[in-house]
Amino acid sequence: MLKSADKIRARLASSNIVWTSASGSRPGKKPFKLDVKRSDDLLRQSSQSSYSPETIPVHGVTVLESKSPVEDLFETLEIDDSESEKQTSLSEVTKISKEVLQEGIAQLHPKIWTAVVDQQAIHETLEWQNTYKTVDMSFEQSRMETGNKRWAKPWGGSGHGYERVRDKTGPYFKGGAFTDEPRRPFISNFHMIDRVTRVKALVSCLTLKFLQGDMILVSNLSNSIDSISKKLNIKREPEMSYLVLNKDNNYPIPLENWIRSKKYYNLFPVEGLNAKSLLKYDKLILDLETLEYLEKRLLFEIERFDLLESHDEPEHPLLNSYWSSIMTSWKDEKFNQGGYRSGHHRFYKDWPQSF
């Protein structure tokens, strides 16, 4: 029921209120006092703030043998649970009961799993992933390919106010006057993005997966993945897609055969990990070996120092026109930007012997 405008205006005028809240003033409600010294004290002192400071993570990969219950999963950021299957077979009974238990606690490296999420890097990497393999194969149609009927008079002869024409293919028409050989070579959209950006995007996606609870650490990659993931799927969401990471292309054969039949489980080697797949799949399943290998590779990329890349080589201002003259200037220069700078040599001598 709407109150009349007069009553509201009278109330406002009498109590000298500039604006009112929707709930109005309740008898028990006390005014919220603030001792504001700085503008951001408001955020700090208000009880509604969900901002909690980040703790200092410790890095290392250790697996403890203690069997502690699954509680306080989000107390500190560096603890993650690895779950495994335990077979308890009773000696004289045919039934075998399998339980999904937490086998221990693993520690994750903070630079990879609690890194600052760079959305700009993720966007650039996704754009790059979608376009770097594309090839521009567009072409100009010849007269026969336009689809216009041959010698189809647009208007019959004289009397309409326009010139006499046989068909709409002459130079006086927009989209007309094409030659017999309108093809051009394909233009490839191949370009590379800075390694730093790609690494940042990968690390940001892994951080998202961990902090949003989409990471599952398993002691053995095997058929047990099914039961573990189902047990962790507390809300019983249907159609949950899983990204199962393995160190190499050489997957354990029973796992490979089992996963071939599964629709929502996908096997990836660590080389095949990319930002788009990490965001596409719901959950990420890792083995402890795979985790160690992945962390090693990523840390190498994060902490490496190439002397040749450390100083900016001022790009010659004529490089853009050089690339476009090679690729022919059929299209705008933006398609030819970022021609791959060849001539960079990777010095493998001082890379680690094995990852």
Partner: protein
Amino acid sequence: MLRTSTFRRVATSAQVNNINPWKFVEDILPPIQIPQPDMNQKFPTPTGWQPPSKDLQSFDYPFFVERNRFHELDLVEEERSTEFFDLNYDNRYQDKHDIALRKRNPSDDLPVTHLYNCSGDIFQLRHEICQYLEELSGEPVAGQADEPEARITVTGKYAYFIREFLYKKGF
């Protein structure tokens, strides 16, 4: 007359294929992996470097400043004059940005210090840094806290003093 005798033979022996054209360059360049610092020495080192303290977790600060890959605190002093494209060598090629840089008023350049890899309650850290620097210098110091970039920017060239302050804290 057959032309086989005039064909040039391509050498395929192992000696020829083993040539590494980058050998002399590789010998000069430093390794890609950055070495870990030697922790069995007295700190601070003669240069003034200090590792993060072992009791850092127990101090329980609401913020955290990481070290960069060179095990240093990432402090960068910047002024607009350092952005020049090198026209000393070749001034035939210049675009509108080079011209704008030359035509700007240099008294509008602001000297500024950046501190990277800050996480946690960045606003608290900025407040503390600004307080400390204002006490030191006596003049007002403005600070910018950029959370997604994990960076704090401070007007003035205070890299040495910020480093001292953070070493005292234990970062």
